[in-house]
Amino acid sequence: MSSKGNHQKLHSWLEERSGLSEIFRFLREKKIPQHRHSLWYYTGSAILLFFAIQVITGFLLVFYYNPTLEGANASVARIMTEVPLGWIIRSVHSWSASFMIAFVFIHLLSIWITKAYRKPRELTWMSGVFLLFASLAFGFTGYLLPWDDLSLSATKVGTDIPRSIPLIGVWVTKLLRGGEDVTGDTLTRFFGFHVSILPIFLLAFLAVHVYLIQKQGMSIPVAAERKDEKMKELPFWPNFVYREMVVWLILTGILFSVAIFLPPSLDKAADLMAPAPEGIRPEWYFLFLFQMLKIFPAKILFVNGDTLAVLLIFLGVVAFFFLPLIDNKPAEKKGKIITVIAYLFIVYAVAMTIWSLL
């Protein structure tokens, strides 16, 4: 019983100095509505779970990784063969990246389809788009770090694409590559992005995103909103969090099982002077874009095919960013069309991805 007394003493000591109980009271009063589409509420914290795993495994890998042209591939090989259980840490990092981005896509699509971005949550959506870019940038920069043949070629192609953007394109490519070509400087630069610049960038936007969600509460789908009856609600703490923990446990189990039984391999070190290997392709989450670039002909009328494709993608991204402002009348016809576009986009992306693998 004295342990309970000590527990109380510690609590009051902290409370006098920090006022932490305010936060816990807020979390207890925060309510999560329960309805047909409540399942999607779990996607946000799933992303956070995988991100936390990335940070931890990333910290561990950075102990042994050597971000130089000469040492990168060898250091990854050392992690996989010499360092005890290094192959597991690397495998978890690689798989958790894919899981995180998969859940980012699921989360984004669920917000789009349930129109959770409608007023007053437009800024939440926009900060979310920045988070999407950050996640994809993490994936892209991380992919190069083992510095093997495949990742080098994928980076050459990937950093060449912005070149087609008029005016600023060349400068974007130079910024990414640290020069005209992909060199050891590119590797060092990508490493800086991956472990320093992007984490700060992501955490900043995450803070905005999470703050807005706490301020505005959980969004309810339009259909559920129309029913005037009092909806069942759960307190965030502890009811919803315990449920989230169940989801986290299952996801962690699946991640570790997959990572242990399907670990990634490592090709030999990249040779900057060698011809491109066959079967270059980016990570799965870029495949649908990659395929679009592949199918555009070299020239359409007077315009370079690549430039047109990149411009179209750019316009799509801009429309995507401003989606809440475009979809300002969600219950009407325009709103319904946008929902259909969401479903069509899913079909398109899946089809293009499968096509690129054939």
Binding site: N239, G253, L266, K268
Partner: protein, 101 residues
């Protein structure tokens, strides 16, 4: 009874999920290679480094670890479901008593 069914479904899913992996002979390829073919084979496989446990001791340890991890996860899910029942009931009681006010 519904909860028990969910558990059994989850358990069956986890087992079938793993049998897919365990049936693949690629796992512990390095361990098997070293045992049977010796050093010459190892040099060939330097082109591509295959990830995985290095010897039988490690691969057995991996199986034990995965089994233990899932056991702990199942136990935790069971305890969490009890906790969820508890806090849900607490919330309902307080909610009702607040409504009465």
């Amino acid at each position: 009874m519904r909860k028990k069914k969910k558990f059994i479904v989850l358990f069956v899913l986890v087992i079938s999920f793993h049998s897919f992996f365990l049936l693949k002979p690629d796992f512990a390829q390095q361990a098997a290679q070293k045992e049977t073919t010796g050093i010459a084979q190892e040099e060939e496989s330097q082109e591509k480094i295959i990830s995985g446990p290095r010897n039988i001791k490690e691969s057995t340890g991996i199986y034990v670890f995965v089994a233990w991890m899932w056991l702990v996860i199942f136990v935790l899910i069971y305890i969490l479901m009890l906790k969820i029942k508890e806090v849900d009931r607490l919330f309902e009681i307080r909610f009702i008593s607040e409504k009465k006010k």
